[in-house]
């Protein structure tokens, strides 16, 4: 034991006494003293044990047991004490040129940032990256990726980042904001042709002239051809878009209206042509892009009604039996407040389906009568739900009809 007077202890302070005990490697006494004096574990016992652990690490004679076992032994002695920084012990191991031991000790460190920092120092890049991804905090992850990029040779960094799928996703996102060219290259290196193609497609929307857009899309198409799976669909859709740009460019030239068609969809192009009175050209576009008949009838209705050509609309509706029925014609007329025109088409709708267009036109009386003629209670209820306080006579009539039918 070390003789100590009370006066000496007071002037040295307890902390210093414990420190001196620790430095003489008298850890059991120091630990018992901390316990006895009720010093909280984080301040007392953990310092003692850490010192012991660092000493143990520095011991050359412990080389005959494996680093893994030594680390486990240390952990066993220390595990019940909170506030232990395994990172500090690992640092000591690094100082003593025992990197493997340091790595084993780091496995027990719970604070991710400390762990990762030292793993990078130990050049255990893979482990560092894994831990950063597992930690989930993207602030740390971007930091780590940036560090790795600085520490590692470029090729090694590339292969590391591509091998860790999750880290790769983060990296690509980081590149999207920082360095689109590099992003593009990364896709290339990963043989991710679809993503490359999509990059080009995104860029094409910023191209100003149609010629440039087409060039970008042609390149994108080549990328999609090399990609498997969805590549096929993307390829054909891109091909169609190139065709559409060319078609729209020539329309703009022929009709002498620049910037009016490029960028529209196929449907929107046709509707605009019909609206501008260019029915023949609209029909040509329909043929070129194999637009199905149902869709074409919708477009004609939209185009003719938007230029308020009610006679034209009527003529069109009579050209053959409508594949979309006549309700769309009713809708188109009502859109432009042409109730009188709308009624013409309601008569063409088969009786069983007439309640809906009457309701669209706000014609509650006729809707109610039609529903009764159809002997359809559900439809009567539908009309009833639309009756407000202003249509009390209609709602009364409906109640009567419902009773009759039941």
């Amino acid at each position: 034991g070390v003789p100590l007077t009370h006066h000496q202890m007071q002037s040295l302070t307890i902390k210093v006494v414990i420190d001196r005990l620790i430095q003489r490697n008298l850890w059991p006494i120091a630990a018992r003293m901390c316990d006895h004096l009720c010093i909280p574990e984080e301040e007392g016992a953990s310092r003692v044990k850490k010192h012991w652990a660092c000493w143990k690490v520095a011991q050359q004679d412990s080389i005959h047991i494996s680093d893994e076992m030594l680390a486990a032994k240390i952990k066993q002695k220390l595990q019940d004490t909170p506030g232990i920084s395994y990172a500090d012990i690992a640092r000591k191991a690094i100082e003593c040129k025992r990197p493997e031991l340091a790595y084993q000790l780091l496995n027990y460190e719970t604070r991710a940032s400390q762990q990762i920092r030292l793993l990078i120092q130990l050049q255990r890049y893979n482990a560092a990256l894994e831990k950063a991804v597992a930690n989930g905090d993207s602030y740390t992850l971007y930091d780590v990726i940036a560090d790795l990029r600085d520490y590692m040779p470029a090729l090694n960094f590339q292969s590391l980042i591509t091998s860790n799928k999750k880290a790769l996703k983060y990296y690509l996102k980081y590149l999207k904001y920082w360095n689109r060219d590099m992003l593009f290259q990364m896709h290339g290196q990963n043989d991710d042709f679809i993503s490359q193609g999509l990059c080009r497609v995104e860029d094409s929307f910023f191209d100003i002239t149609v010629e440039n857009k087409i060039t970008s899309l042609k390149d994108a198409k080549m990328d999609f051809m090399r990609g498997k799976g969805q590549g096929e669909f993307l390829q054909s859709v891109t091909e169609e878009q190139i065709k559409l740009y060319r078609c729209q460019q020539s329309l703009e030239d022929e009709l002498r209206s620049p910037k009016s068609f490029v960028g529209l969809s196929i449907h929107q192009t046709i509707v605009k042509l019909v609206c501008d009175g260019q029915d023949k050209k609209a029909d040509n576009v329909r043929k070129e892009f194999k637009v199905p008949e149902r869709k074409y009838w919708f477009m004609m209705t939209a185009g003719l009604s938007s230029k308020r050509d009610w006679d034209g609309l009527e003529k069109f509706s009579r050209s053959k039996k409508s594949p979309i029925g006549y309700v769309p014609f009713v809708e188109a007329c009502l859109k432009y407040d042409q109730k009188h025109e709308a009624e013409k088409y309601i008569h063409k709708v088969p009786p069983e389906e007439r309640v809906k267009p009457y309701l669209m036109a706000g014609d509650l009386e006729k809707a109610c009568e039609q529903a009764y003629v159809n002997k359809n209670v559900r439809e009567l209820i539908r009309v009833l739900e639309r009756c407000g306080t202003a249509n009390r006579n209609v709602s009364e009539r409906i109640h009567g009809y419902i009773t009759n039918l039941q």
């Binding site: 989930g136 905090d137 940036a146 904001y177 169609e240 559409l244 449907h267 892009f289 539908r382």
Partner: protein
């Protein structure tokens, strides 16, 4: 906002802590402050601290964060309060052009700093002009049983961008909750994201040493991808419809003004003037809203009529009052009757607004199409109604939403159907939407059919389609969608049966990783043994008002557990889809 203390979990504690943190953050900046807000923040912050409180802490003026130079600054400090996104950084840099040297500029990130954002500020040359702070508000109480992180783009970030930093924030939010209400003894979960969050929560819980007895008994983590059908379906509760049709943000909704103006107000409007929109605050402090909010919309009208009759009869009663005592009684009830009348008028107007849209042919036809898909009808072919919607040029969000419902109900679409839909969208709406289609595919919403038809199996096993529902007096949670019980809620119903211990086997019937673990409580703390347990359900990726209504229904009816709902954000089908396109 005192109503927050009236729920079974005293959420006022959480709100007060957030308020203290905000004030502490602001006090670190000495002197008068002009605050420039990220426009997604006034709503959430308003739930934490009233404007008057902020004024007491030295905030003299407030502006929204937009591009361009700042207006003239009179205070010594300018504080930007913003979420970490790049467009805000660009606006801040813009605002700092021509900055006066005598003004100090601060940037408070909510909830945390971001390396990417700080690098952006560095690139724009302004990072040296700013002092950076953090305000770690991860989650806030929206109502007595509802918490939200208000991360409105969480679904896109999680399921398209694979940005898992949100999961870290979710874990931190749970850590905050556990810090106030105790470590939660049992954790359940479903889905890969839930698994990750559970692992993080367990790690963080090990560091919680304060001996608070747990107020919450169970935590259930639900990854949104385990139930994609529910957020896509059109909600039919009163609150759900308000959100679907007009958008309910942090309990505030903005509505067209016509139905709320009195006759005199209407007469006073000049022909060239448009009256301002009506802003309403809807939460539990409005008693009538509390009664109406979770009802199926068809039950709201009759409820309002019944209330109107009740009020009228109360007023009639007063006319028959004879004694001074009876008059006195009536007069004391008068303010309550006036308030009830005003609330009645307001909700009647809201109901009329909703009814106009709900009764329209477009709404009803869209709803019927959705319901057919949810009932498993004709999932294997191109739906003619959807195709015609494209033909008519209906809004793209509407069309995509229906396609996604069809895809999710059938665990994907047949290849020919998917191709037809994709071509249809590109031909009808434009080539650029093909990128949107890619994103919908990545998110799992519009995909090619996988081998197993899980949703069809779950539909039968969990009895999700219910017929003959009584909308006025529902007996089952399926009333929230008029015949479809939300999968997520049915799962919880089976997990916590009445009068029996939790049945975790049900979790294994749903594909995806399952979480079931017990957390170690701090020394000396015992789990609570009250008559009714409390369960915190955390939806990772968004929750809908309809699901919240269904869980409230279960809490009130059942004798198993009371639910408190938390989520990254509150969403609906249109929001979900529109953020992806």
């Amino acid at each position: 906002m005192n109503h927050l203390q009236s729920g079974s979990l005293k959420l006022g504690l959480l709100r007060n802590q957030a308020r203290r943190d905000l004030i502490e953050c602001l006090l670190r900046i000495e002197g008068g402050k002009t605050v420039v807000w990220d426009n997604s923040l006034p709503g959430p912050i308003g739930l934490v601290a009233e404007y008057s409180l902020l004024q007491e802490r030295g905030i003299t003026k407030m502006y929204p964060l937009v591009a361009g130079p700042l207006p003239a600054i009179t205070s010594p400090n300018v504080v930007f309060i913003s979420r970490a996104n790049l467009s805000n950084m660009d606006n801040i840099a813009d605002n700092l052009q021509g900055a006066k040297p005598d003004v100090e500029f601060h940037l408070v990130f909510l909830p945390r700093r971001s390396l990417i954002c700080e690098k952006r500020l560095e690139d724009l040359g302004v990072v040296n002009k700013l002092k950076v702070h953090e305000f770690p508000l991860d989650i806030l109480p929206i109502d007595t049983d509802l918490l939200s992180m208000e991360i409105n783009d969480s679904f896109k970030r999680l399921f398209v961008d694979a940005d898992y930093s949100i999961l870290h924030s979710v874990a931190k939010a749970i850590e905050t909750i556990q810090g106030l209400y105790g470590v939660i003894p049992v954790v359940y979960g479903k889905g890969e994201l839930s698994q990750r969050v559970a692992a993080m929560v367990e790690r963080m819980s090990a560091d919680l040493t304060s001996p608070i007895a747990p107020d919450i008994d169970n935590l259930v983590l639900i990854d949104r991808s385990t139930d994609l059908v529910t957020p896509l379906a059109t909600q039919l509760t009163y609150e759900g419809l308000i959100d679907e049709l007009y958008g309910l943000h942090c309990t505030t909704v903005t509505l067209p003004p016509e139905k709320f103006l009195t006759k005199q107000e209407k007469d006073r409007i000049r022909p060239d003037e448009t009256p301002p929109n009506k802003k309403l605050i809807l939460n539990d402090s409005d008693e009538m809203f509390g009664e109406l909010r979770d009802k199926n919309f068809h039950a709201v009208g009759p409820s309002l009529s019944a209330k109107a009759k009740g009020l009228t009869s109360q007023v009639e009663e007063s006319k028959s009052a004879r004694s001074i005592g009876e008059y006195k009684q009536f007069v004391s009830k008068l303010p309550h009757i006036q308030a009830a009348k005003a609330a009645l008028a307001m909700h009647t107007s809201v109901t009329e607004l909703l009814k106009e849209k709900v009764d329209s042919v477009e709404f009803l036809e869209g709803l019927r199409c959705q319901q057919e898909f949810i009932n498993g009808i004709e999932l294997d072919r191109v739906n003619e109604f959807v195709d015609d919607c494209i033909g008519r040029g209906d809004p793209l969000v509407k069309v995509l939403r229906l396609m996604c419902v069809q895809s999710c109900c059938g665990n994907g679409l047949k290849p020919k159907v998917l191709e037809a839909y994709r071509s249809g969208v590109v031909q009808g709406y434009g080539y650029r939407h093909q990128l949107a289609l890619e994103r919908l595919e990545t998110a799992g919403l519009l995909v090619e059919q996988q081998s197993s038809k899980t949703f069809a199996y779950l539909r039968r096993y969990l009895k999700l389609n219910v017929e003959d529902i009584n909308e006025q007096n529902p007996a089952d949670i399926s009333y929230v969608f008029s015949g479809y019980a939300p999968l997520s809620c049915r799962l919880l119903q089976v997990l916590f049966p009445e009068g029996a211990p939790p049945a975790e086997e049900v979790l294994r019937h749903i594909p995806g990783p399952t979480v079931h673990c017990k957390q170690t409580l701090p020394k000396g703390v015992q789990p609570s043994d009250g008559p009714v347990s409390k369960t915190l359900v955390f939806f990772i990726g968004g929750v809908t008002y309809a699901e919240i209504a269904a869980l409230r229904f279960l809490s009130q009816r059942g004798k198993s557990t009371e639910f408190i709902v938390a989520a990254t954000n509150i969403t609906n089908g249109n929001n979900l889809i529109s953020r992806l396109i």
